[in-house]
């Protein structure tokens, strides 16, 4: 009798405990979907996706902090998910309702097999916004080995605090990015087909960053009509930028893989989706596919750094438009344009033939657009005309002084090339200062002017060497002139010499 009473008391005490244990509100509520094994033919042949999903599901179940909803319980949603990914339903259907599904997160992933190794990637995404809150990928010679590695990360790193940290920061300040696709570019790469696997690996790596929001590529891929024609040697004119931008994805990462006999090159590019502007690009070499996770780790760090700390945009225009833009001496295209520039101070030059170059300093802030409008002033020819008048008067010193002043004032203009040429001509022909002429013509060819003026410069150099008695050097320059500028007037003149 006493025993019965004791049992009843224990049962009575246990009921609230059991009821409390059913309260999952404080737990991380998730469901694990079947892992996609169709990335490579080898993994598909083994039909490894379901097995891996079950193993990952078991890992979550072992941890008290997770409430794992059975896949069967959300079968309808999973089926919708598959249809979205097949392009049969709108991608918006992929974003689930946490209240009705009783889960906040979905664990998705892929299994592929390359060079005899398994590449398994597991990512947990917020079900209503599709951004990755936890990701880990692993390589293993067996599925168990790779899953074991993922298990360790789930146990140790995937905690309530971690989730809170991922979701606490204001999304408005974070850059939103997705990994689009990696093409197998050269013939060897096309045969081996690593692009799909690499994109998944990079997706997982990108999903590790707290400071950026990485949108799961299963969702972003569904936004794109993949039935697009494939061009050789150039990326297709697809509509991915607009589709991503419309859904609030600000950046996309894409690239290509090239396989060589003893090396693999991974090229990557980051585009701003709204403007289509290339904001960052890079290239990484690795010895073998064993380095895929390492290279993805390295690329993801660079991309994260670039998006968060390094890159700003310069929106530049000029009057007139079509001027060349140089940032720290490097040609970055023509106005008007939007250029991605590394954060900090830079020297800006805007140049156009017939106009005085604009030179200034700009300061670029990360994640902001700096606008700059440049009004170019036409080169005033008065000074040049003054030099010509001196020439007409045969006042050679006066002409040289005027040309020097022109060069000093407008040295960066194309017109200064002519000033150099005229000056060298006077020094050689009229002042007989062959050493000075040599220096002037040498300076002219080193300015890299257009072909015609450069040919004139070489002709001047040839004559100066000849007049200085250095016949050997004169012959060398003459041969160069005839070989590379053979159709110019300068070459025609050079042919008349008897050496």
């Amino acid at each position: 009798m006493k025993m019965k009473k004791a049992r009843l008391i224990i049962l009575f005490l246990l009921i609230p405990v059991l009821l409390l244990s059913q309260d999952n509100s404080s737990k991380i509520r998730l469901a694990v979907t079947s892992f996609d094994d169709s990335i490579t033919s080898a993994s598909e042949a083994e039909k490894a996706g379901n097995a891996v999903a079950s193993m990952i599901e078991a890992v979550f179940k072992k941890q008290d902090r997770f409430y794992v909803r059975e896949r069967n319980a959300i079968a309808d949603y999973i089926s919708t998910l598959e249809k979205v990914q097949a392009g049969l339903l709108s991608p918006d259907m992929m974003k689930g309702d946490p209240a009705s599904l009783k889960v906040d997160y979905l664990t998705v992933g892929t299994v592929s097999k390359i060079d005899g190794r398994y590449e398994i990637d597991a990512r947990t995404v917020s079900i209503d916004r599709m951004f990755i809150v936890h990701a880990h990928g692993a390589t293993g010679s067996t599925i168990q080995e790779a899953v074991g590695d993922i298990e360790w990360y789930i146990k140790e790193k995937f905690t309530e605090d971690y989730i809170k940290q991922r979701e606490s920061d204001s999304d408005e300040e974070k850059s939103t990015v997705t990994v689009y696709k990696f093409r197998d570019e050269n013939e060897r790469a096309a045969k081996l087909g690593y692009g799909g696997t690499f994109a998944e690996i990079l997706n997982s790596q990108m999903g590790n960053f707290i400071s950026i929001s990485t949108i799961e590529r299963k969702y972003s891929k569904a936004l794109i009509n993949e039935k697009i024609l494939e061009m050789a040697g150039v990326i297709e004119n697809d509509d991915s930028g607009k589709s991503f931008s419309d859904k609030g994805i600000q950046y996309k990462v894409e690239g290509d893989i090239r396989v060589f006999s003893d090396m693999i090159t991974v090229n990557y590019r980051v585009y701003e989706t709204a403007s289509g502007a290339l904001v960052f690009m890079g290239s990484k070499d690795i010895g073998s596919t064993k380095g895929f996770r390492s290279v993805a780790w390295s690329i993801s760090n660079t991309v994260e750094d670039a998006l968060n700390n390094r890159i700003g945009t310069l929106k530049i225009s000029s009057q007139p438009s079509g001027a060349d833009v140089y940032i720290d001496g490097k040609n970055e295209g023509k106005t008007p344009s939007q250029i991605s520039v590394v954060r900090g101070k830079h020297n800006l030059t805007v140049k156009m033939d017939g106009f005085i170059p604009f030179k200034g300093e700009i300061e670029i802030q990360s994640k902001t657009v700096t606008e700059q409008n440049v009004v170019l002033r036409e080169v005033p020819y008065k000074l040049f005309e003054k030099a010509m008048i001196y020439e007409k008067k045969r006042d050679w010193e006066g002409a040289i002084a005027a040309y020097d002043e022109f060069i000093k004032t407008y040295g960066d203009t194309k017109e200064a090339d002519n000033a150099y040429y005229r000056k060298g001509h006077i020094e050689m022909m009229f002042l007989k200062k062959y050493g000075d002429a040599l220096k002037t013509f040498d300076a002219l060819v080193k300015r890299y002017p257009d072909a015609m003026t450069r040919a004139e410069g070489y002709y001047g150099l040839m004559r100066a060497y000849e007049l200085l008695g250095n016949r050997e050097k004169a012959v060398e320059i003459k041969n160069y002139l005839l070989s590379y500028y053979g159709e110019t007037n300068a070459a025609e003149e050079a042919r008349k010499t008897n050496y």
């Binding site: 996609d36 169709s38 990335i39 033919s41 097949a86 392009g87 390359i114 590695d149 696709k181 990696f182 093409r183 197998d184 570019e185 096309a190 045969k191 081996l192 087909g193 690593y194 692009g195 799909g196 994109a199 993949e226 039935k227 024609l229 494939e230 061009m231 050789a232 040697g233 150039v234 004119n237 090239r258 060589f260 006999s261 003893d262 090396m263 693999i264 090159t265 090229n267 290339l278 690009m281 890079g282 290239s283 990484k284 070499d285 690795i286 010895g287 380095g291 996770r293 390492s294 290279v295 780790w297 040609n331 295209g333 023509k334 890299y448 072909a451 160069y480 070989s483 590379y484 500028y485």
Partner: protein
């Protein structure tokens, strides 16, 4: 009891050994990057940079820079390609190859207008250089100027009758501009030039599937594509396309 104590002591030791056996990702990265440094392609670039130090004339320097740019082009390293081709042009402004390489790199960098300028120079220096027309076709395609793009691919083919990539891209542009018969003809030429040229099968499949509504032909071409590229990134999608057509 002793056995139990031994087992308890052994477990942490085993965990430690297993953990030590796992290589840190940065360590693997270092090894892999080192391996690639010694790869033949990168050794070749290194040698050429060494040769630059002793090159005496502008022509020699230009030739070396052009070779470096060509290797970067093969690797797809756009930043280095632009840098090397620009240097080559500084030393030798009248060399068609460096203008061509610079134009090609500008396309990859999204600077299509600059690409057209450079490719025009390359063509003015060597008017029968098929690859320059091919890249011009690509640049115009990226500017959505399909008429010009088509013209340039046709010119590339005129100067190189076996230019398979040009036939493929011409096929794509013809499809996009509604010239379906011409598209089919050009894509089929790719098949005859090289029966293993996979992307033409995919493009033919899409042409038959979405434009000409020839389902059987579409399925046949999609299947051929998957046979040639069993691990292409869009393999699961292509399978779905085949299934949707009843294949």
């Amino acid at each position: 009891m002793k056995k139990v104590i031994f087992a308890v002591l052994l477990i942490p030791l085993l965990i430690f050994v297993i953990h030590c056996g796992k290589k840190d990702i940065s360590e693997v990265a270092e090894q892999e990057f080192k391996l690639s440094e010694n790869a033949s392609v990168n050794q070749e670039i290194k040698k050429l940079h060494e040769a630059l130090k002793t090159a005496e004339t502008d022509i020699a320097k230009a030739e070396i820079y052009t070779k470096i740019a060509s290797i970067h082009s093969e690797k797809g390293d756009i930043g280095s390609m632009i840098k090397s081709a620009t240097e080559a042009i500084k030393y030798q402004p009248n060399q068609y190859m460096s203008h061509y390489l610079l134009g090609k790199s500008y396309i990859a960098a999204g600077r299509y207008n600059d690409a057209v300028d450079e490719l025009n120079i390359a063509i003015s220096l060597k008017s029968d250089f098929a690859p320059a027309y091919f890249e011009m076709g690509n640049a115009e395609y990226k500017r959505y100027n399909y008429k010009e793009s088509k013209k340039n691919f046709q010119l590339a083919i005129k100067y190189d009758k076996n230019y398979i990539d040009a036939y493929n891209n011409l096929g794509v542009v013809c499809t996009l501009s509604g010239d379906l018969k011409e598209a089919e003809k050009n894509l089929k030429i790719c098949n005859s030039l090289n029966p293993e040229y996979a992307i033409a099968y995919k493009n033919l499949g899409i042409l038959y599937d979405t434009k000409m509504k020839k389902n059987a032909e579409a399925v046949m071409n999609y299947n051929k594509y998957l046979t040639l590229r069993p691990d292409c990134p869009e393999r699961s999608l292509v399978k779905l396309w085949i299934a949707a057509l009843g294949g």
